[in-house]
């Protein structure tokens, strides 16, 4: 690593002044280099300071509450970016250093055409005239692989899909041939197949233009395939720096090791997933035995869904109606103590399936036999008793707990509604036991949801379901919003609970690796229909449908060499 460095960060310290007057140290003096023509991945979980680093390079941090330590340096070609004047800074932004963001939809101005927004950069930095810029825009859009670029240049952001919007953002970023491209979680909001395309596009452009790329991500998996160097961050400090080979083959830092192992892998399925503590404590991590998955012939089927359908109607024209079929003819069986995973990309209808089963949406077709009784055709009064037995955990741990209830209230409410426990004292006692079971301290009872982290909140949501001792738990993207290390903990918890209470799970997720890890059987959905359904190992080893194969090949494989070896 003695090549020319394009960007060198030296002892970067950033503090945020909080409203309460306290200071939060976002970056505690980090140093790393971005060599010319190389891709550096900055990996970390939420709160690691990775995005703050990228914003600091672009100087886009809010000036009113940010303090950058005066001794910090961000050297770009030897020049300290932190001491640039306003106009020097503007000349640098978009020209030498360009940036793409996580949410392409909100990052584009909704009222200008995408062509205009790209042209704006060209006219500003490359000094092109309007018509020359227009021509160049079409070339750029062609380069980033937008279909029908001449026409799409006149489109507004909302008329493009998420992947297309991100392509536009990339076209805008590379418009002035920047030397450094900063990509801040550019694929996190996208479906896995689109993610693969965007990653390939960035890699291709990096080579073609000889740019350096700073790739910021929480997912170590996506890094392996195209980064040269990796920087691992946690809590505002750098834990480890090295080439991709070093990081993946011989990680030194315990946290890096943990990150590499926390994520479920497609090729193995340990009894329990590794968690960070496994690596930080002495003795290191010993991989547990493999877990066997799949339905057995004598499994007791508790839920039998037949021909489930859900359509939405919307108005069209003067008297017309437009019918949208979110779910079409979905059938599956779920056995006691087993997990059925439903995977699909956005718009596949997987979430709608879950919601119709707890009747948060009313199904428009089909039956769902729960212990032989159709829960979809029941009267609401009749279904009330079944609510206890079928529970759901949602995706967003920040939205699924009522912010004005204490944890105690959240946990005792379902017991009160279903007459579980004879008095409030007994209920509180049960709530305390459950809190302990899901790994939260007893004093959490009197706290409010906002005092907990995402993972803890998801534990509370799980505990809420457990108060009713359900037989079937629907997990709707329940671990998708969590950091990988927290995700592993929650997955382990779900697994333990299944082993202990013989719970059946309907596990809905877009994440194939997670689904593979936790499911006995997997159902792949696309555009409201079932594509394929089989035992978990079967579907991953021997996919029968093209769509399944495409999904599987889009999963980030970690480091490339490893993937070759595995293949």
């Amino acid at each position: 690593m003695t090549q020319d460095n394009l960007l060198s960060i030296r002892n970067l310290k950033v503090n945020f002044r909080l409203e309460s007057g306290e200071r939060f140290e976002a970056l505690k003096g980090i140093s790393f280099d971005i060599p010319k023509h190389r891709t550096v991945a900055l990996v970390g979980e939420s709160g690691s300071g990775k995005s703050v680093t990228s914003m600091a390079i672009m100087q886009l941090l809010p000036s009113n509450n940010t303090e950058v330590d005066p001794a910090s340096e961000i050297l770009f070609n030897g020049k300290n970016l932190l001491t640039l004047t306003g106009s020097e800074l503007r000349a640098m932004r978009g020209k030498d250093v360009a940036m793409i963001f996580q949410e392409p939809m909100s990052s584009l101005n909704p009222v200008f055409t995408v062509g205009d927004q790209i042209a704006e950069t060209l006219m500003l930095h490359a000094g092109l005239g309007r018509s020359a810029a227009k021509k160049r825009v079409v070339e750029l859009l062609t380069e980033v692989g937008l279909p029908d670029p001449a026409k799409k240049a006149g489109a507004y952001p909302h008329q493009l899909s998420g992947g297309q919007q991100q392509r536009v953002m990339i076209a805008m970023a590379i418009a002035c041939e920047p030397k450094l491209l900063i990509a801040d979680e550019p694929t996190t909001a996208l479906d896995v197949t689109i993610q693969k395309q965007i990653l390939e596009l960035i890699a291709k452009l990096q080579k073609k233009h000889g740019m350096s790329v700073l790739f910021i991500t929480h997912d170590l998996g996506v890094v392996g395939e195209f980064a040269d160097d990796v920087v691992v961050m946690r809590h505002g400090v750098i834990r480890e720096t090295g080439t991709v080979k070093q990081i993946f083959d011989a990680p030194k830092d315990a946290y890096t090791k943990a990150l590499l192992n926390c994520r479920p892998h497609l090729d193995r399925r340990p009894m329990r997933l590794a968690v960070i503590d496994d690596f930080l404590r002495e003795g290191g991590y010993v991989e547990p035995a493999e877990r066997q998955r799949g339905y057995l012939p004598d499994d007791e089927i508790i839920l039998d869904v037949q021909g489930l359908g859900k359509s939405f109607e919307s108005r069209e024209g003067l008297f017309g109606k437009h019918v949208f079929h979110a779910v079409k003819d979905v059938s599956f069986k779920l056995a006691r103590g087993k997990t059925l995973g439903i995977v699909g990309e956005s718009g596949s209808g997987k979430t709608t399936v879950g919601l119709t089963l707890v009747r948060l949406h009313e199904a428009t077709a089909g039956k769902a036999l729960f212990h032989g009784k159709d829960i979809l055709s029941m009267s609401p009064r009749e279904f009330q008793d079944y609510k206890r037995r079928i529970q759901i955990i949602f995706q967003n741990p920040y939205a699924s707990l009522n912010p004005r209830f204490t944890v105690g209230q959240i946990l005792t409410e379902p017991m009160m509604l279903h007459d579980i426990g004879t008095n409030q004292h007994e209920r509180l006692q049960m709530a305390r036991e459950l809190l302990e079971r899901v790994g939260l301290p007893e004093n959490a009872m009197f706290k409010y949801p906002h005092e907990f982290s995402g993972g803890q909140r998801q534990r509370i949501a799980i505990a809420r379901c457990l108060t009713m001792k359900p037989e079937l738990l629907i997990c709707d993207e329940s671990v998708s919003a969590l950091d990988v290390s927290v995700q592993a903990q929650v997955l382990n918890l779900l697994q333990d609970l299944q082993d202990e209470y013989q719970l059946s799970y309907l596990f809905i997720s877009h994440d194939l690796a997670v689904v593979k890890h936790i499911s006995d059987q997997v159902m792949v959905m696309n555009k409201g229909e079932v594509v394929e359904q089989a035992d978990a190992d079967d579907i991953y080893l021997r996919p029968k449908q093209d769509y399944t194969r495409r999904l599987l090949s889009s999963i980030p494989q970690g480091w490339v060499n490893e993937a070759i070896v595995a293949a």
């Binding site: 309460s20 912010p403 004005r404 409410e413 509604l417």
Partner: protein
């Protein structure tokens, strides 16, 4: 953010704070907001005092000569009308009140009754004062007392009107937004009918058909100003009913009313508080205009608006103190209320944490 301002971090055990408690903490940090809160509290006390006649209860007593100037101005402040221009013992006095001359017949009866009533108070009066702390009005009533009582009336009209409007708007908005469908169509129709007619026209029409008096004004204002709250609450319920915590409540078997009032309502309570404060300010201003146009409080009642109604003719004669008193009282009240609204909005915004 576990440490509070007062307790040193690390010293006290972390105390759990509800969102309200956190909001209160943020409000206390905001100096302007906190001072405003105190000012508003003082006004509320005055209003309460006025309601129970502890404050400004004697405003009807004609204790001074007509248009007695404020004591800090001196008797030469204005050309004072001769004291005997007004028949002090007059049971049959012919109501020579300039400002009320424009009033139409229907209230004539009340007016004479008011005179009689006022006459009764005056019997005990011995000597008229030449000046008062803030001057006197046409009939020698203490402007200070009158302003206190008037402020009290105005605040009560504002607060009760706002409470009523909030009640109507919240109930209809909650039902509309939560249930949707036919009932939503019906209520939205109701809403669009009310918003198709300008507020002021509606206010005047309501006021015209239902006679004068504080109760009428409160009813009239509530009936015309529930629409803003309806729209706000409907939109919030529409949004929150599909929030995951409400769906989770449905999944654990909570009834519709429990979801509506136990789960959703507390989560918009901060918006309702802001809406309530905004509406109170607006209604205090509306009351002034209504009273001024002659659709406001009754003759034997006083409000900031009815006092302002007397101002133009006084001003021409050079008696400016009543108007000044009202302006000061009202401006401080409304400024404090508005600043408090701003502070509340910042403090209770769940986005900042």
């Amino acid at each position: 953010m576990t440490a509070t301002v007062q307790t040193a971090p690390g010293m006290a055990a972390p105390v759990s704070k509800s969102l309200w408690a956190l909001g209160w903490q943020r409000l206390k940090r905001n100096k302007v907001g906190f001072i405003s809160l105190w000012v508003v509290s003082v006004y509320l006390l005055i209003a309460l005092g006025g309601w129970f006649n502890v404050v400004g209860g004697n405003w009807l007593n004609e204790i001074a000569v007509p248009y007695a100037p404020p004591s800090w101005v001196g008797a030469s402040g204005a050309d004072v009308m001769p004291a005997d221009a007004y028949d002090a013992s007059g049971v049959e006095s012919s109501a020579p009140i300039v400002t009320l001359a424009r009033q139409e017949d229907p209230i004539g009866k009340e007016l004479t009754e008011a005179e009689k009533d006022a006459g009764r108070y005056k019997v005990e009066e011995v000597k008229k004062r030449e000046s008062l702390p803030f001057g006197a009005d046409l009939r020698g009533r203490d402007v200070l007392q009158k302003t206190l009582k008037g402020t009290s009336t105005s605040i009560f009209v504002g607060i009760f009107g706002a409470v009523l409007a909030l009640l109507i708007g919240t109930t209809l908005g909650a039902v509309s937004g939560y249930f949707g469908g036919k009932i939503d169509d019906l209520l939205t129709w109701f809403y669009s009918v009310f918003t198709s007619v300008p507020d002021m026209l509606l206010l005047l029409s309501f006021a015209a058909v239902s006679g004068r008096g504080i109760t009428t004004i409160i009813m009239v204002m509530a009936l015309t100003s529930w629409t803003g709250t309806y729209r706000l609450v409907r939109a919030e319920y529409l949004k929150l009913k599909s929030r995951e915590y409400v769906q989770a409540a449905s999944a654990i078997g909570a009834s519709h009313s429990r979801r509506m009032f136990v789960h959703i309502l507390p989560n918009i309570s901060h918006l309702l508080l802001v809406q309530f404060s905004l509406m109170t300010v607006a209604l205090i201003k509306y009351e002034a205009i209504l009273s001024f146009l002659g659709f406001g409080v009754g003759v034997r009642q006083v409000s900031l608006g009815s006092m302002l109604a007397e101002a133009p003719s006084e001003l021409v004669q050079g008696y400016w103190w009543q108007m000044l008193a009202v302006t000061i009282a009202m401006s401080i009240l409304v400024t404090a209320f508005s600043l408090l609204v701003d502070a509340l909005r910042d403090a209770l915004d769940p986005k900042v944490k």
